[in-house]
């Protein structure tokens, strides 16, 4: 056998190699990765332990105001809840459709749901599929409402807290919220959700609009 191969020309040897590889391909299966995914549990555990998987609502609010477009916000809630209210640049992608969405593995993706259970699960799904830039909005939409839309200042606020509140008031107004100045914890005034037609920074794409596909190829 080895003598036979040795007697062949280089071209014939290459042709034979190609033939063998092609033949084996008949039985080697599909090269596309299906629904199966692999997890590096240790890496994920470290990420969770160091809170590197979380991103705060104030950070995201700042990014939106700055008009940054290097991140995508994904709303995991049902379409009806999404239609009622969502964080301005968010797009609505149900958990079941995360795998087939047009999210890029090299993109910064911020996931949120109502309070943070669903989004943590979705985060795990995305990380398992190799989306390295997936983050969870810390506290979910509840935190967004509490800290951005309707921020409150404690009755016995320290000067530092008051300074913070003055800053967050502007952020809140930008998103159409109503800061609850001086309101104690007991007085729950009926808060009105802002209308969806709130000022969206021009740099961020409109909700649900398909992202401009970058042209590739030769």
């Amino acid at each position: 056998m080895t003598d036979m191969i040795r007697s062949l020309t280089l071209n014939a040897r290459l042709a034979l190699t190609a033939f063998v590889l092609g033949f084996v391909a008949l039985f080697a299966g599909n090269p596309y990765k299906g629904a199966a995914a692999t997890l590096n549990t240790k890496e994920l555990a470290i990420t969770m332990a160091t809170n590197a998987d979380q991103i705060s609502v104030t950070t995201v609010a700042d990014w939106i105001i700055q008009g940054r477009s290097d991140f995508r916000v994904v709303d995991l809630r049902p379409a009806a809840a999404f239609a009622e209210y969502h964080i301005p640049p968010a797009e609505n992608i149900p958990v079941t459709e995360l795998g087939g969405s047009n999210l890029g593995r090299n993109e910064k993706i911020i996931l949120y749901s109502e309070s943070g259970a669903r989004d943590a699960q979705a985060w795990m799904l995305l990380r398992a599929k190799g989306y390295r830039g997936a983050y969870v909005l810390h506290g979910g939409l509840e935190a967004w409402k509490d800290s951005i839309l309707f921020p409150r200042v404690p009755a016995n606020a320290t000067p530092a807290q008051l300074v913070d509140f003055a800053r967050i008031k502007d952020v809140s107004k930008y998103f159409g919220g109503s800061p609850q100045a001086g309101a104690g914890d007991s007085t729950t005034t009926a808060v009105v959700m802002p209308k969806l037609a709130m000022p969206t920074p021009s740099a961020t794409p409109a909700a649900g609009a398909p992202k401009k596909k970058k042209k590739e190829g030769c």
Binding site: N11, L14, A15, A18, F19, L21, G22, F23, A25, L26, F27, A28, G29, N30, P31, Y32, K33, G104, R105, N106, G130, R132, G133, E216, G217, C218
Partner: protein, 201 residues
């Protein structure tokens, strides 16, 4: 590490240009080594006297296909992330004809024109200028050509999708096609060489 590196964010847009430059130089180097800096060699293809172009290109296709296939099967590469150029059937057929005619008349295709120009061939340099004149003209007339340019869109197609056959089967079929093509090409070359001898004697 999993490929494609760019899609997984191992490097950014700026480094990707450096990588593209290195790959381009490598591509040009091997075209030159195959003798594709000569219009005579390239044009001989159309007279069936020298089918090196066919053989080199089909070798590249088979090598790349086997590489991509096995890297994906072994999980080193995510084939789902590899960009596929969308198919626009009618404009591609017309564009193919224009490129073919230009190839026969000019003696170079765009890639080999760059290689020829880099090795100092004047005919290649003229063709190189022609390429950019064509690109400029296309862009200037784009509003007129847009309808044709975007006609018959078929999306990103692959042979396993279109035929419904298993991926591995297509791989094997393409390998067989290539091997048959190489054998046929050598046979044609020998035939043409024999005819030449007859004619000259």
């Amino acid at each position: 590490m999993t490929a494609p590196f760019f899609k997984y964010g191992f490097f950014g847009e700026d480094i990707s240009l450096v990588v593209a430059f290195a790959i381009g130089i490598g591509f040009g180097f091997f075209l030159e080594r195959a003798g594709f800096n000569s219009a005579k060699k390239l044009a001989a293809q159309f007279y069936f006297k020298d089918l090196t172009v066919f053989k080199v290109m089909f070798t590249a296709i088979v090598t790349a296909m086997l590489g991509v296939y096995y890297l994906s099967v072994f999980g080193v590469m995510d084939l789902g992330l590899v960009y596929l150029t969308p198919t626009f059937l009618l404009p591609e057929i017309i564009g193919g004809f224009i490129l073919g005619i230009g190839f026969v008349v000019g003696g170079y295709c765009p890639g080999t024109a760059c290689v020829g120009a880099a090795t100092g061939r004047i005919d290649a340099l003229v063709l190189f200028v022609g390429i950019f004149a064509g690109v400029f003209g296309f862009n200037e007339f784009y509003p007129l050509l847009k309808g044709l340019y975007l006609a018959t869109p078929m999306g990103q197609l692959t042979l396993p999708q279109v035929t419904g056959l298993p991926y591995g089967f297509i791989v094997f079929a393409v390998v067989l096609m290539a091997l048959g093509g190489f054998w046929g090409a050598e046979w044609v070359e020998k035939k043409m060489a024999a005819r030449k001898v007859e004619a000259s004697s």
